[in-house]
Symmetry: C2
Subunit: 440 residues, 2 copies
């Protein structure tokens, strides 16, 4: 299997490239913009994630012998295009929101500038990564808000495609989850990993007591015992009998959690295990977490709902041409006018205006030229949102790898503090701040 | 990046392995079963997909230096477990439903038999693949039913994680889609690829006419022109003026499709382009496709809804221990009793009973022993659903690769013919046939 990411691409991008090389438009410089027209699911804000992953995948976006053979054999492109692709490396410039940043409708999350030929073929890869990871991150941030100071663990790998699962663990960590069950996310992105035992562990043994005893012997009394394989009250009693009152924790993975958690807390306290923590893990989403705020729960494990974006599995971002050179080399803003799918032409510079540290608007300066945008960047009460990710083909390595994830996590925590209170409610609504366009 | 799939695993599986190697239970032979307790989203049937992918990933499921170093450094397991994992190859037996087969609540989609040590650590990988791919396949089958004889193309890569996108294209093809936009799915799985041009193609040019002319010159008059960048009626007029009445097709990606499709058909006919096909691609799902049945549409392109499972992005399958050896080597059926999450212990043999070729029930014979299941397999009016995928560690290579996909697609088409009429309705309901358990 080739490590190239070049065929993670929709065929029409190469078809357009092929035709553009023929008619000479391939060399026109273009500005493509990746943005969301709206926040699906009635979200009040979105969270950008995937940027660091995209940069690493961009590094592998080149056409080797295997890729070129496929394109030739399938007659996707002609010989001239094969020649072009043979030497392809993206040599343009990409600016974008920092990973972990918030976004709103119209936010220019990514701006890709280069020739039509080199920029058009990045559409699918860029959208796949950012649409998936941002959907998970947005759901993760809502869960993190609902959980408050209680720790959250991501454990949804089994309910997502095997590679998306790793990306989901990474996105969740950026938005405030403390750990993941996914070992690959630990290795690749430095996300702390966690996990003790499944129901199979109890069922493997001749009795629940045997299972608990073996686990405590292997992992120590500070481990977390899963107590709901048979009867929860018996499970809790057995757990404390085996591990003693210093037992680290019990996990409950079924039942009506507010009721069960209260019962288990009462039982643990009565048995003298008042420091034993209760972790709950059954079909939680941000609403269930919020409903447990007053319950004696110490930690949450979230699976399905997180990795499927809690009802919004894709961020719905699009990749649109917004400016290009004409035949004479002048710049032209362009936009499509399709019903409900119109785009706004022109280059954009984006700022978050703040009032005493609280976000008040997403301010987007639109222009045909760069000079005007630089003037707009001098806006006094606003934070500039874009940073340079790729400059003339050189990728910003600080955004990649585990270090990039740590930076994104810290950035997200910081900018979430800027959200107005109304952004923190979970119900469906309009975006928490308006998007305001100004002509630069 | 290592090609090993071994860390696509939840940490608790290795923690259990570690503890089981200490207490001696690691060598108990076990039967794990992968099944769905229910069909989420009110589906009337499910479609198994991912089996061939899983077998290829299983081939790469081994622990190399990089994986072992991570596990040691992070203290996930102790030295004895590292030694065990160093030589790990799955040496057990896996039986399962053929890829493309239908499934219902309780269907033993996969049965993994081996020692606890070797079988427990496959849980996450098996579930990730089958939950994702089966969710897409189930949505795809519903869309295929709604589309009837009209061709369907998958074009949702941009709305799914970049690797899941490839798997989604594969799953859609198995359920009757004719093509995908995803080039990697073409290369890896032999799925036919398609695609011509995006709105960026039109916007790149100084006029829509320039864009259409260049496309027709590059791809011939049989190409499909995207006519909704500006005004659809003008776009159609320009398309026929440029390409002539032999124009292959037009694509509409916005607007109120039943109305727009009728207008475009009328306009094309009036212009003499009565053979020009109409493809629609705007936010389609199985309901929108059904609503277009009476409209003059020739082909559908489906994106977001397909790759996100049309509201059901995961199949919700679980991997549970159902039988194991006791200390004396005898077999014991085991099952958990958790509220709403109980499982049914025992080995299972599965059959679809038929009446004049129409499915009447999912018949599942449950037993502690193999002999009884063999007797059950003699059931006269029933089709046996399970096949051997891995025998003592040897993987069935015919289920892998592009050939496996072609076989799965043919199998799906055949077994879908067995569905009763009530299974073909799109509304939420109970499973189309009951699951019946018998003691073998």
């Amino acid at each position: 299997m080739s490590a190239s990411t070049a065929l993670l691409t929709d065929r029409y991008e190469l078809t357009m490239l092929d035709a553009a090389l023929r008619d000479g438009t391939a060399q026109r410089r273009c500005v493509f913009e990746l943005f969301a027209r709206r926040l699906p699911g009635g979200r009040r804000f979105g969270v950008v994630a995937g940027t660091g992953r995209l940069l690493s995948l961009l590094r592998e976006f080149c056409f080797g012998d295997d890729e070129l053979k496929f394109l030739r054999d399938e007659k996707v492109v002609d010989a001239a295009t094969v020649s072009f692709l043979e030497g392809y490396r993206f040599s343009g410039t990409i600016t974008g929101y920092r990973e972990g940043e918030l976004y709103f409708p119209g936010s220019p999350v990514l701006t890709v500038e280069g020739t039509f030929a080199e920029a058009v073929i990045l559409e699918t890869l860029a959208l796949s990564v950012l649409n998936h990871d941002s959907a998970i991150a947005t759901a993760g941030a809502r869960m993190s808000i609902a959980a408050g100071d209680r720790p959250l663990a991501e454990m949804g790998s089994r309910r997502a495609g095997e590679s998306s699962a790793v990306a989901a663990a990474r996105a969740a960590y950026i938005t405030g989850f403390g750990a993941t069950s996914n070992l690959e996310a630990g290795r690749r992105w430095g996300v702390p990993t966690m996990g003790t035992a499944a129901h199979a562990w109890t069922l493997l043994h001749d009795s629940e007591e045997d299972a608990f005893r073996a686990q405590v012997e292997a992992l120590g009394t500070d481990t977390t015992l899963l107590v709901d394989t048979y009867d929860i009250a018996e499970g809790v009693a057995t757990a404390v009998r085996v591990a003693g009152t210093a037992l680290g924790g019990v996990r409950i993975d079924s039942g009506d959690l507010p009721i069960v958690a209260a019962q288990v807390r009462e039982q643990l306290d009565a048995l003298g295990a008042s420091q034993t923590r209760i972790t709950v893990t059954s079909d939680l989403d941000e609403y269930a977490i919020a409903a447990l705020a007053a319950s004696p729960v110490d930690a949450y494990g979230v699976g399905t709902s997180l990795v499927t974006g809690s009802g919004t599995p894709t961020a719905g971002m699009v990749y649109k041409l917004v400016a290009r050179q004409d035949a004479a080399g002048g710049w032209v803003s362009v936009a499509k006018a399709s019903a409900d799918k119109s785009s706004k032409g022109g280059r954009k510079a984006a700022f978050r205006t703040l009032d005493a540290g609280t976000a008040t608007s997403e301010l987007i300066a639109v222009s045909d030229g760069f000079e005007q945008l630089e003037t707009a960047a001098a806006h006094p009460d606003a934070r500039a949102l874009q940073t340079q990710l790729v400059v003339e083909g050189e990728i910003d390595t600080t955004a990649e790898g585990a270090d990039g994830v740590a930076v994104a996590r810290a950035h997200h925590a910081r900018v979430r503090e800027e959200l107005p209170v109304r952004a923190l409610a979970l119900s469906r609504s309009d975006p928490a701040i308006p998007t305001v366009y100004i002509d630069a």
